[in-house]
Symmetry: C3
Subunit: 355 residues, 3 copies
């Protein structure tokens, strides 16, 4: 559905761009891109081979990227561009036809920039932005409207703070990161000690240190460390509304889906994934290559890579009520099963002796 902002392109040009071979009319024009389900005759789409919720033979797409082995799955009227990895090739096409808007490289006159902040020449700063003393903003950075940066913050080249992002004092953000609206980086951690029933705040003196190519979702919050730093390593991707507590460490190239919560000092290895709503208790470690499915609660360290889950399956409310009540009897049921086994064995023995 999204229309190509420049002119329509010919199939031959798309194929040349991504190194694909055309089956059908290479002169057909493509004026938009769309999913298989909603594409029309003028759209380019792709088929990854994954049929979940997709009926490739029913698509009205005019042009489809696919693997050679899947060409018969698509309607005979569609022009096909055969490539080894249709999904990657499709992203190549999207980046080519829908380039990100050029930054203005202007400083909005109503931005408040402290005189000691050091901004590269080509930084873009939107309206109502605040940049504090001692900040160091590298080349190509875009700071959207409403962002607030405290003091002594460093931001690496080409990173984009979309809008209304808050970054507190002393935090570091690497290069080529994208931070969505409403994210808060460097808020005080929930550091409290209990003195005679009253909570006393522990000063939070660490920083948040974010590597390169990290994405942070909308309204996600990342607390600064208490003493050591909270760390998010290169290539990690965080979705929306995630809570990252003080002194958490997230390894390189790990991805965390929305609404997850990582309690203080939890450590996530490299190449991990946490599903939506996953919760990590504090002071635990996940080794590299751990995958936790959605809404699971993790209360202990995980020492082996693999896929882990928790939770109970959805049921009708009536059935669920009955089964959930039995959950509270599980220990007793297990003991009853054991008693039955003992009783049955005794009877068996009796029977054998009586024979």
């Amino acid at each position: 559905m999204p229309a190509i902002p420049t002119d329509a392109v010919r199939v031959a040009d798309v194929a040349a761009r991504i190194g694909g071979s055309v089956r059908g009319d290479a002169g057909r024009l493509v004026s938009g891109v769309a999913s298989l389900a909603s594409a029309t005759i003028s759209d380019l789409s792709y088929f990854s081979g994954n049929r979940r919720g997709i009926q490739p033979d029913k698509t009205s797409a005019g042009v489809v990227l696919c693997q050679s082995k899947h060409q018969d799955a698509l309607p005979s009227g569609a022009v096909l561009i055969l490539v080894p990895n249709p999904q990657s090739a499709f992203v190549d096409v999207l980046e080519w036809l829908f380039p990100r808007s050029e930054p203005t490289k202007c400083i909005d006159p109503c931005a408040h920039i402290h005189p000691t902040a050091d901004l590269a020449d080509d930084v873009t700063v939107g309206a109502h932005v605040v940049i504090g003393a001692g900040c160091r903003i590298a080349s190509g950075v875009r700071i959207g409207p409403g962002c607030i940066l405290g003091e002594n913050i460093s931001i690496g080249s080409d990173t984009e703070l979309i809008a209304r992002v808050t970054v507190m004092n002393h935090c570091e953000i690497g290069a080529r990161c994208v931070i969505q609206p409403g994210a808060v980086i460097g808020s005080d951690g929930f550091g409290l000690i209990n003195e005679q029933g009253r909570w006393r705040r522990v000063p939070q003196l660490g920083r948040v240190v974010i590597g390169d190519d990290v994405d942070i979702g909308a309204n996600t919050t990342i607390d600064r460390g208490a003493l050591d730093d909270t760390r998010i390593d290169n290539g990690a991707k965080l979705d929306n509304l995630i809570q990252v507590a003080h002194n958490v460490e997230i390894g390189a190239h790990s991805a965390i889906a929305g609404c997850a919560g990582l309690a203080g000092s939890s450590v996530v290895g490299k190449y991990c994934t946490l599903g939506g709503g996953v919760g990590l208790a504090g002071h635990l470690t996940l080794v590299d290559g751990v995958h936790i499915t959605g809404m699971s609660m993790v209360t202990r360290s995980i020492r082996q890579p693999g896929v882990y889950s928790a939770g109970t399956p959805l049921d009708t409310n009536d059935n669920w009520h009955k089964n959930a009540a039995r959950f509270k009897q599980l220990e007793r049921i297990a003991h009853r099963v054991q008693a039955l086994e003992t009783g049955l064995n005794a009877l068996r023995k009796n029977d054998e002796e009586n024979l």
Copy 2:
């Protein structure tokens, strides 16, 4: 407790307004409104018939809206106004006595409005607002302080963005919507493909399209679609801190409570309700009239209307530890029960043969 901002009103006037009949002194004055529990002699309250946590006979309310059949449940000293639907009638009274403040219909001088944005004459725009190129803002819209609107956004008549709402490029919002502070509409979806262990962003080209009479809660995030749009239909109501991922569709008149998370491409039908903290996995469909109780995880499509649940009941930590440990043995316990049944049947058969 809230005091009527204008003068006190007489019971007779309230009854006339809502078409109710008075039992008691129609000349009594009402100067405030309150719940049954906290109302005083000068307050108007209501009794819906629902006794959960309410002791209607203990109220000190001077005036109570109720159904005729419940009049004996209330203290004899209270003036009653009898109506068929006390809750609706009470809302009628609230809207009458506590009208929303009149918009100023002014543009704050420090708002940044792009010259190509098209605002109706009577739009209200607060301080520190940014409105981008090509936006179309209809009559009666109120844009509160600190809101940021990207480019080419359209907002329907009488919609209110309370404060500090962010709406990104190309999104559409219908008429008479109310969007609470901190909400983010049109952030980039969590669209990633994995190439040799590294995550690569997929350009997010779809929009968010919101119908009429939709409410969006504080700090709720709604991602734009990847190719097709994310859609929230007429009359849908979303509470606070909800995550709506790319290409989700929420049907008309569905309501979603706080902290829920809807993963990518999940589809919620019409007249559905999702309780607080509910999680929907991606690429699934709920038909119309599905109700999910709080904190349930939904991993498959639901094809029948009804009430569905998941989760385990709260218990003392000691008991829970024992029962939760048994959860991991459930498969084994089921097999042991089956073995017991086989063993018992064999013994029975033996016994019968021996008799």
Copy 3:
């Protein structure tokens, strides 16, 4: 790791400050503070006695606060300062060596302050702030950049709104509170009544009333009451991304971890703790001293102090699938166990009669 902003200090001066006795070189200089794990020879650290994830004998810290009874757990090369409560003493040291930055006590010229707002002389107001009509801001309050305050709000002395906090009309905040970025206080509650399948908004006329010494985390949302007020009492501490619905009451000195959700009219007693991701259904009461572990769903009132839990333990995805499927058969399994018990007893009786 954090370096002391002023000069290095001598061990003797630290010990004198906190009333500790020195074991080792009282003249050693301390130039930073750090956790045991990351401290170097020039750092001050502490050992609370809790060994979770900590190897005290491996620390490189030059100076360690500890209890007398733990002195042998630490390396012989470390200078020790012996105190009865090392954690509290360490916080004393942090507050002394890392004092909060002095407020500027300036009003930023681009803040919008309504002429009827009443600000004490020494209030600090950051850039792009909006303060509405009739607000009352007490002595020493700091309102960071991007904060938006509606009308008739009162804020007690020395409270700090860090940045981009939104407070809506008529809310009250006590003294010495700290509110992190992105928090929303006083958004409209999710008050809806259903009229023939359509949702109708109920005007939300109550306030949020927050006591003294309360902390509110980043992007946490607190809805105003419907009629009565939403209340958070003295000394309560709320972490990030928490949803507090209308008419919730949170008792004094209770602490709530991130991602928790409290549905409408739920009441939390004093000295309670809710773990991360805990959900409270509406219209329930927790007495004083109730502790709920992480991600538990609470659907009924709790009348006894203690620790409560819900949920299922994490397992490998393969095992979990099998056990979770059995959860839906629990009622049937319980009946089968009962049938087995009846059958076994009958057999036993037979056997006894036959003997």
